[in-house]
């Protein structure tokens, strides 16, 4: 029943998309200045219908309707209700439906919120966006249909992978999707702007908040994913430069470059084509990321849905998008006249873009290079953290310095002020870094440089903020985001330098000592839960300097549906440090392998990212107010 309902709604959505394209096209030919009502109505109906369609699928998951293959494969009656619901988008087919929803709703909202832009531009944006919607609807209907039914109807489902049964992972996909599917709307707008020759700087007003919205959600999505990886995957890190992680980072670089260069475009009416390229690139990278992840072409920790036929469809779609983009760019490209002075804000924003493109190129290359070596030389290579750290970190030092200086430079002018104050800030940063390394003992030159440049960025942002506050022209959004980015790098740097990691094989009752800590393996219990059994260890961590005790209880879980073994880390967080402990059994022995980690300032890494995003939302808010 639900299967038929879902399929019919999807089919209706296709018809609606086609009619919107038809009406928009008709409307383009009429001389009337307004967009006809019927287009608004159809867009609204389309958005509502696709939501109904999604709720239908959610309903199927809630009532465990195993006549749908999708529900059968990804759910189970014994699962908690939250994970039944989140199971809807925790799989390939369901997540594509989420794609379609965001494409559709953004399409409608863009239509409604851009009244004061030319009619032709708005209609063309709508048409392009609906072509994208159609592309995904066809993909859903004919290749990855979440409403496909199965006969005979099974009595019980196969269950959801237990490591996906987690609150952070329940909200991770929607956040990330608003980010990178949201970028579709400025892809469409860029194409429309090229076709309709809408190249004045008022174009930037139509897209800038959309870029910021997608950027904020993308950042949050990446953050939640990292937090999940930190506590769920049990290795104590939060970023592994894994292909799937990289796929989410690539559009992020492009978005960051985009909303910075939009500032210049809006103000000085230059870089139009560069802005367009970035708009196109962001969504293309998003789709490419999806292709890499879903086609199974890359080996990753997170590969959860891979199938060559999907890859082929997305690849054709992707090629078409790239082809159209490049064709239009070549056709419409005109030389622009730049008038940029050396020490102007324009130059520094260009420098931001320059570094973003460098990071983007590095990460993109590292992600896809193994595919080429495998195909050409039949030689499988791994490109992992050491590669990215070697290439990115030294350059990040320079980037942070530019980031600190850039915002203080004025528009157009060719004069460098405040050299003195920077010298003081730099000396201050060196001193603080010296104190940190002297008292806490660390030796790597590179991490020292990173810490110095992060401190430099933080202090110059804050001093900047105070100055602006005195002049009553405080730009909260930028100060908060830039300073928080400095803090983020600082905390990651300190965390990396001062982490402690110890690995022991230990028996019940044994105690291990190292530095000023001792770990005692106290008890071991077997516990039964509704959908899994767990072996829970209890270990006491004693800090012999302060005599403070902490009890950590890592688990080994045995899930029933599907039968899986997972290792749950036990984490004690505080403002200064996290204790992180995992435990695993060793075959044919009484010993357990435990891995203890002390991770300083972990919470502050998350807080910094949240603050960066708050800066982004503040900017959207101030933009909305000034419009």
């Amino acid at each position: 029943m639900l299967s038929n309902l879902g399929n019919s709604i999807l089919f209706l959505c296709v018809i609606l998309s086609l009619s919107i394209i038809y009406f928009a096209n008709q409307n383009l030919k009429t001389p009337e200045g307004k967009i006809s009502k019927i287009i608004y109505q159809f867009s609204l109906i389309q958005s509502c219908l696709i939501l109904v369609c999604f709720f239908t699928l959610i309903a199927a998951f809630i009532v465990s309707d195993f006549s749908l293959i999708n529900v059968y494969q990804n759910s189970h009656t014994s699962k908690p209700i939250l994970y039944k619901i989140s199971g809807t988008w925790g799989n390939h087919e369901g997540s594509l439906l989420l794609w379609a929803i965001i494409l559709t709703i953004f399409s409608f909202l863009f239509l409604v919120y851009n009244n004061n832009h030319p009619k032709k531009f708005r209609l063309l944006t709508l048409i392009v966006q609906n072509i994208l919607i159609l592309g995904f609807l066809f993909f859903i209907l004919f290749n990855s249909n979440p409403f496909s039914s199965i006969v005979p109807v099974p009595n019980e489902g196969l269950g959801l992978n237990p490591i996906l049964q987690d609150p952070a992972l329940a909200i991770h996909p929607p956040l990330l999707y608003i980010g990178f599917v949201g970028s579709s709307i400025y892809f469409s707008a860029a194409i429309a702007s090229l076709i309709s020759n809408y190249s004045s700087n008022s174009f930037s007003l139509s897209i800038k908040n959309w870029v910021l919205v997608s950027w904020c959600f993308q950042s949050l999505g990446i953050l939640v994913g990292s937090i999940w990886a930190y506590y769920e995957l049990g290795w104590g890190g939060f970023w592994f430069w894994d292909p799937v992680e990289n796929a989410s980072l690539l559009p992020w670089f492009a978005m960051t470059a985009l909303f910075h260069s939009l500032i210049v475009f809006e103000r000085r009416n230059i870089f139009y084509f560069w802005v367009i390229i970035l708009c196109l690139m962001t969504f293309i990278l998003s789709v490419m990321g999806t292709f890499l992840v879903r086609s199974g072409i890359l080996n990753s920790v997170h590969t959860f849905a891979s199938d060559p036929s999907r890859g082929l469809y997305i690849l054709s779609f992707l090629s078409l998008m790239i082809f159209v983009s490049i064709f239009l760019l070549f056709k419409k490209y005109k030389r622009e006249n730049y008038n940029i002075n050396q020490n102007s804000k324009e130059t520094f924003i260009l420098i931001n873009n320059w570094f973003m493109m460098f990071y983007l190129a590095t990460v993109l290359l590292g992600t896809i290079y193994p595919i080429f070596t495998d195909a050409i030389t039949n030689n499988q290579i791994s490109v992992g953290p050491p590669f990215y750290n070697t290439i990115i970190i030294p350059i990040a030092v320079i980037f942070l310095l530019f980031m600190a200086v850039g915002p203080r430079v004025k528009w157009i002018k060719n004069k460098f002020e405040d050299l003195k104050i920077y010298t003081f800030i730099l000396i201050g940063s060196l001193l603080i870094n010296f104190l940190i390394t002297y008292f806490l003992e660390s030796y790597s030159i590179l991490s020292n440089l990173i810490i110095i440049s992060a401190l430099f960025l933080i202090s110059s942002s804050l001093i900047d903020g105070i100055k602006e506050f005195k002049k009553k022209r405080l730009d909260y959004a930028r100060i908060i985001s830039h300073a928080s980015f400095g803090f983020l790098v600082l905390f990651i740097g300190l965390n990396d330098v001062f982490s402690i990691e110890k690995d022991y094989n230990i028996k019940l009752g044994e105690t291990k000592k190292f530095e000023n800590y001792s770990i005692k393996f106290q008890t071991l219990n077997l516990k039964e839960f509704s959908n899994y059994k767990a072996v829970v260890g209890e270990l006491e961590i004693l800090n012999t300097d302060t005599n403070k005790k902490n009890i950590l209880s890592p688990e080994i879980r045995i899930y029933d549906n599907p039968q899986t073994l997972t290792y749950e880390a036990s984490i004690k967080s505080s403002f200064l440090r996290d204790y992180y402990l995992t435990m695993s059994n060793i075959d044919r022995s009484d010993y357990y392998n435990i891995k203890f980690q002390k991770k300083p300032l972990m919470i502050w890494i998350w807080i910094s990212v949240v603050m960066i995003v708050i800066g982004g939302f503040l900017r959207i808010f101030t933009n909305a107010k000034s419009n």
Binding site: G234, W354, N379
Partner: protein, 119 residues
């Protein structure tokens, strides 16, 4: 005066950087090796028999006085390049290591050319 103070601090500081002799930390090597029987895990994270064996091999190699780089090339000779997370700088990986810098330099020149064109 300030400058002298600064200089003294700097000398102390650089001593603290260079004086300490570095020991090889086996765990940092484990983190750069892939567990071949697991899905996307490092040797350090994994408890598989394979990972246990590799950990022993790494320990032996360190005891023999091998450097970090020597250990990586030993591993990739024996198990293939797939095992090391840091691709070696050789003929077919040269583009991987060099291209990012080419992008960087090219970008720099491009920006420089834009700025110089001012009236």
């Amino acid at each position: 005066m300030k400058f002298k103070l600064f200089l003294i601090l700097f000398v102390l500081y650089s001593q603290s950087i260079f004086s300490e002799e570095k020991k090889i930390d086996p765990n940092s090597i484990h983190k750069n090796l892939r567990c071949l029987v697991c899905q996307g895990q490092t040797i350090s994270d994994s408890n598989s028999d394979f990972a246990q064996t590799i950990k022993l091999v790494v320990k032996d190699l360190i005891d023999e006085g091998k450097t970090e780089e020597e250990i990586y090339s030993f591993m990739s000779d024996k198990y293939g390049e797939w095992i090391v997370f840091k691709p070696e700088l050789n003929m077919h990986n040269s583009l991987l290591w060099i291209l990012p810098y080419i992008v960087l330099i090219f970008g720099g020149f491009f920006i420089f050319s834009l700025i110089k064109k001012r009236h």
